[in-house]
């Protein structure tokens, strides 16, 4: 069986303007990397087609350790508390470690 390490994958859907802040947060709280996709969708604030910059969403994914998870979620919660509209959820991950 291939050896993997346990991790927590944090998924965030947010307005595109939040990208820079999310990257800073990821780097600050120990994510080794992140991946961003452009996203479309809709919700309580209407459809987000991506045609206008204000309507442009991103799907932001990062993997953190169990130890860093709570701090990362707390930072995202503070962002939401300031009114930023984020959708955040966590899934389990099994991470292939990089070869030494």
């Amino acid at each position: 069986m291939v050896a993997t390490e346990p991790g927590k994958q944090i998924h965030v859907v947010a307005n595109g303007e939040r990208e820079r802040r999310l990257i800073e947060t990821a780097q600050k709280y120990g994510a080794s990397g992140y991946t961003v996709w452009d996203a479309r969708g809709g919700g309580r604030t209407g459809d987000h087609t991506g045609t206008l910059d204000a309507d442009r969403n991103i799907y932001f994914v990062m993997v953190v350790t169990e130890e860093n998870l709570e701090q990362m979620l707390a930072a995202l919660e503070r962002m939401m508390g300031r009114g930023h509209r984020l959708a955040v959820w966590v899934t389990e991950a099994r991470v292939l470690p990089r070869p030494a």
């Binding site: 307005n15 303007e17 604030t45 991506g50 045609t51 206008l52 204000a54 009114g83």
Partner: protein, 330 residues
């Protein structure tokens, strides 16, 4: 003053086609980022043209145009804010976010106005192009300031948010002054102003011959976006709908008076200044407000700016301001 022929210009007709496509739920979709590419072209083209004409123009009047632009850019959002907060009894944060849109400008509306003037064979000065670039940013700063005031007066726990919030505020101010539209307009103008006229001739066809055609595609997509917002009228409510129709008229009046009496522009130039006063941003300001005032509901300001004010200005406003400018010109 207003007749059907005002609407029979390609720019308006393509906008209407976009609205129709959206209303009938056509599967018409533009490739991603096409609107952005088209707007880059349009902003560079208008900036270049403005700069080339500025090279022949009166710098004193240009400086006066900058001052008037700043006055409109800082003053109109304050008027909008007072109307929303005092008259409409909206919460201060939503009022600040919406007001910032009405102090800034819509390059799309400005370009439709240019198409309208050119279809009527009416000349216009280049000074409103400078004003377009200047007026992109002040309203964002006013929005930030009003939001900060209202948070302080609501005794929000600023201390908890301060370390990152202050840094973000500084960045937002810098971003508002260096946003893409401002860079393209001012940069294009500078290039048009300083470049050798003989060299400019080689690129002029690209920025003039296909300009109107590109504008029609841009407006087709904006029409589709505006059409999508029509359903959000119910969320916005009667007062805000009325605001979206009346505030352009208020801004338009200030623009008319400024263009005619302060800058002594002709009928074309005065019409364009009126359009600048009357328009609401839906490209540069909304993302700034999403960052700066996240508590505000984006549905309000996007529906107002793109779903109500933009179509109003295109269909009724531009011919109205043109007629009023003509009346002022005697």
């Amino acid at each position: 003053m207003f007749d059907l022929s005002n609407l029979l210009i390609p720019a308006f007709l393509f906008f209407a086609l976009g609205v129709l496509a959206s209303v009938v739920r056509s599967d018409l979709r533009f490739p991603p980022d096409l609107a952005k590419a088209l707007s880059i072209y349009l902003l560079v083209a208008i900036g270049l043209k403005g700069g080339m004409e500025l090279a022949q123009a009166d710098l004193g009047v240009a400086f006066g145009a900058v001052l008037v632009a700043l006055a409109l850019g800082f003053g109109l959002p304050l008027i909008a804010y007072l109307i929303l907060w005092r008259l409409g009894r909206f919460d201060p944060l939503n009022s600040a976010a919406i007001a910032a849109h009405y102090g800034s400008v819509s390059a799309g509306t400005f370009l439709v106005a240019i198409a309208f003037l050119e279809s009527h064979g009416v000349a216009y000065e280049s000074y409103p192009v400078i004003m377009l670039a200047i007026m992109e940013s002040p309203a964002i700063l006013v929005g930030l300031f009003l939001a900060k005031l209202s948070r302080q007066s609501a005794a929000v726990d600023v201390a908890e948010a301060v370390p990152s919030e202050n840094g973000e505020t500084r960045r937002m101010i810098l971003d508002s002054l260096t946003n893409g539209s401002v860079i393209l307009l001012l940069g294009g103008m500078l290039i048009g102003y300083v470049a050798d006229p003989g060299a400019l001739v080689t690129i002029e066809p690209f920025y003039t011959e296909i300009f109107m055609g590109v504008l029609t595609l841009f407006l087709l997509e904006m029409g589709m976006e505006a059409g999508r917002r029509l359903e959000a009228f119910r969320q916005v409510g009667l007062f805000l709908t009325g605001f979206g129709l009346v505030m352009p008229l208020i801004g338009g009046v200030f623009g008319l008076l400024a263009g005619h009496y302060l800058l002594s522009l002709g009928m074309g130039g005065t019409t364009l200044v009126a359009v600048l006063g009357a328009s609401a941003s839906y490209i540069a300001v909304p993302p700034a407000m999403r960052l700066a005032i996240p508590e505000a509901n984006p549905s309000y300001y996007l529906t107002l700016a793109l779903g109500i004010t933009f179509p109003f200005n295109v269909v009724i406003g531009i011919p109205l301001y043109y007629g009023a400018a003509g009346w002022l010109a005697g």
